[in-house]
Symmetry: C2
Subunit: 351 residues, 2 copies
């Protein structure tokens, strides 16, 4: 099966290289049938005209799964390359209707949380489902500035969008082990329904959908209270579902509690396609130096395989990765001095 | 000078009682000229028709300063009392044009942060300036639900609103000691200008205003990155300025890093009026049991006095409060067993 691979900018090609080596090894050793088709798409090739948005979307539509490295290059700020790279990610999400942005918040083995009470692997382990196809973000394709005096964006919440993202969250909760604290399966609807009608609408639809999932507890929390909760009692969380912009902010917050964006991986899922990517950026300051931490890229790859139905291979990746980290192999951001290649080789050796 | 006092619901009257005792003691011992005029305004009295919004606004306009306890009572959810209480706070903010919501994030003596690297008082000490008169929140007074299929709210950002809140932030930064880490004075503009035009507009106006403040460093950060920063390196922060909704979420996040809402105090400031309140709610579950922590209410009082030009008295309050806490006096939420009255008496004794 062909998978589209977007190499991105900055550290993108380096960490993608790690992911591809792992996919190839799984092919050689265990017969995984995945063929990564690499595309040199990123701020640089958008800037020099080698690629444009429509062209990328046309290619993307040929695939069931996409593996995406971070994009963006601040050097191209003046010529628009970085803005174009950002448009790639938002256009892929919106135009391919990848409505569920799945962002696990999981304390991996060997990684330190900045929170005092959370020291064991998986003591923080929940998933944020960020609505990815509407909300405040949809105004990216609209938005108004009037006479340099006033600017307006819209937050749009639809029944269809809220129903499908709520269902997605409950279906995911079914498949989890529940919260680390007591194994209870729950979905928390996060909004500011006390202040805005669109959020109250979101909550209402969520509540309708929840009645079809008796076995999962439906909970409700305001976004400000959730920001607190994620710091004070993250072990009580299982699945969170929220609007696009809240999901953006809360998922970065979650990532910070489990060691930072270096460990934040994600999937953007539609009813028939999935795009998988690290949450972190292209880190141009450390690009080309063979020191980038490929963990989030590798975990995104694992998530892709799992979603494609290759859960067995995804398990092999995670076991080998965690064993490597447990045995002390760490990149500089993790306080060690392993290079990206050494880190990757250690994983491959474990497989 | 008369000050309007809103007693609120739940623990409101209890913690307000602590604040009033302190004000009265400052009057007796040191001649502070403040006369608290108490109003029994909250969800209950809104629900039973004793008060209505217009009436409250008319009264409020007679004062320069308002001290407000938390409002809301979940028991009144069906009759609308809680919604009305929420409308009081939003109406006061919007109708009195209290455009600057000042929310200090400060690790007080004797309070434990959940963050591993932050153990000393004031090792976290910065201020979030939440724009309080427009942004996504202004849609509270509008908002549309269409055919039960779709809901829309607007985020409105104006030049006037952004100029004045930016100026406010820079003026505040001037008066601070800078960041705990290195004393550098800075204002960080927090937005998602990469995604929405209204945020790009916010950033542009902020940047224009910043050019008038050469002595303060102007910085820029996306809201998701700021959520991380507040957990990973809060000691680098001095003043943050942001849109209303982001300010709501980020200030609760900040509060969590300094021990929770029990220690989060705030001011809502216009060009000629100020309303001061704890950020926490009315905690109906512990109301009437004399165990509520009045710290946020007392710190809000101190902030009010400082804003009114009575900085000397504000200093006396803080010194006595911190001494009481340092000497081991703690309410149950702080891990002790002091009652609200004992906690208050300990402060009064120190004054
Ligand atoms: C790059 C940016 C547009 C993107 C977003 O805001 O969604 C990123 O922050 C993310 O969370 O994936
Ligand atoms: C009570 C609610 C309307 C309020 C808000 O959302 O602003 C509160 O959360 C706050 O932060 O003061």
């Amino acid at each position: 099966m062909d998978v589209m691979v977007l190499n991105g900018d900055g550290i993108g090609p380096e960490i993608m290289n790690a992911a591809i080596k792992i996919i190839n090894k799984l092919h050689e050793n265990f017969g995984l049938n995945i063929n990564p088709v690499e595309y040199d798409i990123g701020a640089v090739t958008l800037d020099n005209g080698k690629w444009d948005l429509d062209h990328i979307l046309d290619e993307a539509r040929k695939y069931k799964a996409i593996l995406k490295a971070p994009m963006g290059d601040p050097k191209l700020r003046n010529t628009g390359g970085t803005e174009k790279a950002l448009d790639v990610i938002l256009s892929l999400r919106f135009n391919l209707d990848l409505y569920a942005n799945v962002r696990p918040v999981r304390l991996l083995p060997g990684v330190e949380s900045p929170l005092k009470s959370y020291n064991n692997p998986d003591s923080i382990n929940y998933t944020i489902i960020r609505e990815n196809s509407e909300g405040l973000y949809s105004s990216h394709f609209g938005g108004l500035v009037l006479r340099d005096e006033l600017a307006i964006d819209n937050q749009t919440i639809t029944r269809k969008g809220t129903e499908r993202i709520s269902r997605f969250a409950f279906e995911l909760a079914k498949k989890t082990k529940g919260s680390p604290k007591d194994g209870k399966k729950s979905v928390v609807c996060v909004d500011k329904s006390n202040v805005l009608r669109s959020f109250a609408f979101f909550r209402k639809i969520f509540s309708e959908v929840s009645s079809r999932y008796d076995e999962i507890v439906a909970k409700y929390m305001y976004a400000d209270a959730m920001a607190q909760h994620m710091i004070i009692r993250p072990d009580e969380l299982n699945v969170i579902v929220t609007e696009n912009m809240f999901g953006d902010v809360l998922s970065d917050l979650g990532a910070a509690t489990v060691g930072g964006l270096g460990f934040a991986y994600s999937g953007n899922i539609s009813d028939n396609m999935g795009m998988f990517e690290p949450v972190h950026g292209s880190a141009p300051d450390i690009a080309g130096r063979n020191i980038a931490n490929p963990t989030a890229m590798i975990m995104s790859t694992s998530m892709m395989l799992d979603w494609l139905g290759f859960g067995k291979f995804s398990k092999i990746i995670e076991d080998s990765l965690f064993n490597a980290i447990r045995s002390g192999v760490r990149t500089p951001d993790m306080g060690g001095n392993a290079t990206t290649s050494y880190f990757t080789e250690s994983i491959l050796k474990n497989m």
